[in-house]
Amino acid sequence: MAFLVDRRFTSKNKNAGNRQRFIERYKGQLRKHVEDVANKGTIKDNATGGNVEVKITDIAEPSIGQQGGDSERVLPGNKKYVPGDKIPREGGSGGSGGEGSGDGQGDGEGGSGQLNEYSFVLSRDEFLAILFDDMELPRLMRRDSGDMAAVNVELSGYARNGSPSRLSVKKTVLNAIGRRKAVHASRQAQIDDLVEAIEAVRAAGDGVEALRLETELAELKARFAAHPVPGFEDHDVRYRNFDLTPEPITKAVVFFLMDSSGSMDEGRVNLAKRFFSLLYHFLSVKYEGKVAQRFISHTETAEEVDEKTFFGSRENGGTVVFSALELTEKIMREDYGDGRTNVYIAQASDGDSFGADPQKSAKFAIEKLLPETQYFAYVETNEETGEDDSNLWSAYEKMKDMGNFSMRPLRRKEDVLPALRSLFAKETKK
């Protein structure tokens, strides 16, 4: 009698439009939750964290209500009161508060003002997408015009045609063997049939027929000998096949510069690492591997390292920022000197450098780096920036005039995300 409808298997796809709508609608709340998680989580969590659960409160829209004045109310659970007793109010217990227009003085459920909570699980990718929603690499440009597209070549199966350099010996030989076997087998079968016939006839005593058949057999064998099975035929030959996909022209590289000197204590190093780790994720989420990343760690000398070392190790030593900038410039020139790559630099330091280093670094940056980069972002992991600016901070201030440089202080863990956000904020279209 009843109609039963099983809707479980429709729109199971996590990327169904409704999920997107949901995220759009609750972006404000989700963003807040996501930021909380990012701020409070460890750096490792941010890197490897899986699904994240957030609770959404379906905020009921505002409604018309009235409050105050004189009224009466009935409450349950009287323990000891008789008429005439006075119960003190703390403003919120039982009797006070606004009357919603829909829910009869706060009784019961439903109606406006009631919050419905819903637990919602974000996949890590969604989490990161929300976290970095309004960020982008600024001034990312196509540095290339015209037809000089880069091409990506991938192995993809076998073809019957191709150039000799692409001949697949293995496949060809296998095909040949197969063909030869088949032909041999068929020939052998013909011989065997004749031999059998001869024996049958002989046994039956018909010598004449047997002789005739033997002659036939001899002719057959001679024919076979005259036409041996060819070792290889055109039919067998195979060539390796390649798939050509064009690569996107817009390319970018981001240099991560980390100050690993002794003056960077654990707190400061963690701030820097947190910043870089979020930057790293931002790039992987938004630009999915199209952006190259180079990691440079420096004390009084600089060296390029791999990602693991960059995030993992701590060194000890003095601070010479110039060394890192110099190395960066070298790599830029050698690896990305064709002018076709957007270059970005992100540097973190506590600003604790001395002598001529700050000024020298700033001058070098202005002359050699900034003209060749799209954007240079500097964060200073120093609790005192703002009150007592470090040498490096003061020196770098000049670079602001260049137009593609920005700097932010990182005093506390909670500053990291806002700093990252503002450094890489999306440009609003005019």
């Binding site: 729109s11 949901f22 008789v82 039982g94 009784d107 909570e117």
Partner: protein, 495 residues
């Protein structure tokens, strides 16, 4: 006893089919009359739909009159994320949604509750019969949803949200309380919408743009007040008169208005409806157990779930959150049955018409002919008042430091407590009385609203947000005046 038909290890669709059949069969034995059920099994993702879409999917949670959260509080305390969710629609066939990850006892409970309980209430209670049309609503909801989605696509989500938000804010002001609503028909609605668009098109006249504004105002001849009588159906007035709304925006206001009318009974029968559904959970559950359709273990789980919904905290409890409508409704219905079957002298004195009579008829009569306020006034007994230790207090504006108890659960107090609780649940008495008094149609287009304040009440600060939305949509001046009982203007607010 033969082995139970309903077990935990069944395939869920098979379970639901059998459970619905047996529950309805059981209910019919006791006189339940229901629409045909249409049960939809959904996943958590589908619930997303309800939260995601601002348009009006059938399960739109904002229309919280139309849904109930079953025992969500208990579940939260047990650490379950996610909600045991029950949504049932007043429609024919009666559509309800079950969540796939509920346990089997829970599914059975929801079926008894929604597919038998709520279903029969929707079909037979007078308010629903007068104000809604179960046959037409699904088609209308689909029309509404599609219309709004189409508007979102054509005009952008934020423009649609702007109108929807404003309309929702005035949701309680979209009903003509003294007229019965005309019949809903989707074909009529569509035709009407087309007609209106066409009329607007025909009226458009290039020349009228060239008339100088002063001449258009009519040479100082002030119009008599418009509207002639104050209008309390604010959404209706906005739909017809808002100077700056596009045709499609008016349609959206109209949709919200139609839907608020559809949900009008639900807000006013919450306690009865939930109490009724709880009673049937109880009766059907026990009946199926007695027939051996479910076994002891199953019944235990069922009862545990059932009773957690009946929790009513005392007023001084940390988690007190007002009256639990499930508990209160259930208590009264249960008491009616008790009085029918085992009346005491007190019952015979207080309720001569029902004491000792057939319980099924008594329950049925109550369900059909009352709404929350009148239900309480008619049926709340001294026994229930004692059980719940109800007491009444006075709250006075001029002394915010305390409240004064004016009646408790004793002979002198019963009638007072009952009368006050009935009044408390009379939603219409508590919706702020706001009407449109004037729309300066030929002048500066200011809209003047009047709030009649009684007994010293004031509008909440949150109300201002609503008026701001109105002003934004209205496009010209909006004034909200507060009038006290003497007729003096005590406040004047311009959003």
């Amino acid at each position: 006893m033969s082995s139970p038909i309903l077990t935990r290890d069944m395939d869920v669709m098979a379970f639901i089919e059998v459970a619905e059949r047996e529950s309805l069969k059981s209910g019919r034995k006791f006189g339940l009359d229901c629409y045909t059920n249409q049960i939809e099994l959904i996943t958590a993702e589908h619930m997303l739909d309800a939260f995601a879409s601002h348009a009006l999917p059938i399960m739109y949670p904002h229309w919280s009159f139309g849904k109930s959260f079953v025992r969500h509080e208990a579940d939260y305390r047990k650490g379950r994320s996610g909600l045991a969710y029950e949504v049932v629609i007043n429609s024919n066939p009666c559509i309800s949604y079950l969540m796939e990850n509920n346990t089997m006892p829970m599914q059975l409970m929801v079926i008894a509750h929604a597919c038998a309980g709520h279903n029969s209430f929707f079909k037979n209670n007078y308010m629903f019969k007068e104000w809604t049309e179960a046959d037409a609503i699904i088609e209308y909801l689909a029309f509404a949803k599609n219309y709004i989605l189409a508007c979102e696509e054509k005009h952008g989500r934020s423009k649609v949200e702007r109108i929807l938000d404003m309309s929702h804010a005035f949701m309680h002001y979209g009903v003509d309380k003294h007229k019965r609503p005309p019949k809903l028909s989707v074909t009529d609605e569509k035709a009407r919408a087309a007609e209106r668009a066409e009329a607007v098109r025909l009226q458009y006249n290039e020349l009228s743009r060239t008339i100088p504004k002063d001449a258009a105002a009519g040479a100082g001849d002030k119009e008599k007040n418009y509207p002639a009588e104050p209008e309390s159906n604010l959404l209706y007035f906005i739909e017809k008169n808002a100077p700056k709304l596009e045709v499609w925006e008016r349609e959206i206001v109209r949709i919200v208005r139609k839907l608020s009318q559809y949900f009008y009974p639900q807000g006013r029968t919450k306690i009865m409806n939930e109490g009724w559904a709880m009673i049937w959970e109880h009766i059907i559950g026990y009946d199926l157990y007695e027939q051996g359709i479910i076994d002891e273990g199953f019944m235990m789980d069922y009862l545990i779930q059932h009773t957690t919904g009946l929790i009513q905290r005392d007023f001084d409890h940390k988690y007190y959150n007002g009256f639990n409508p499930y508990a209160l409704g259930h208590a009264i219905f249960r008491d009616i049955r008790r009085m029918s079957e085992h009346p005491t002298d007190e019952d015979r004195e207080w309720f001569p018409e029902i004491a000792g009579r057939d319980w099924m008829q008594n329950l049925d009569f109550a369900m059909r002919n009352f709404k929350d306020a009148s239900f309480i006034q008619q049926y709340l007994s001294p026994k229930v008042i004692r059980d719940q230790k109800l007491f009444a207090i006075d709250i006075r504006e001029d002394d915010k430091s305390k409240v004064v108890v004016n009646a408790i659960h004793n002979d002198e107090g019963y009638r007072q407590v009952r009368r006050q609780l009935a009044e408390q649940q009379n939603i219409d008495a508590h919706i702020p009385d706001i009407q449109i008094r004037r729309y300066d149609r030929t002048g500066d287009r200011t809209l003047t609203l009047v709030y009649h304040s009684r007994r010293g009440k004031k509008l909440t600060p949150e109300s201002r947000k609503c008026f701001e939305k109105l002003k934004d949509v209205w496009g010209f001046g909006v004034v909200v005046e507060t009038l006290n009982e003497k007729g003096d203007v005590t406040d004047r607010y311009c959003p």
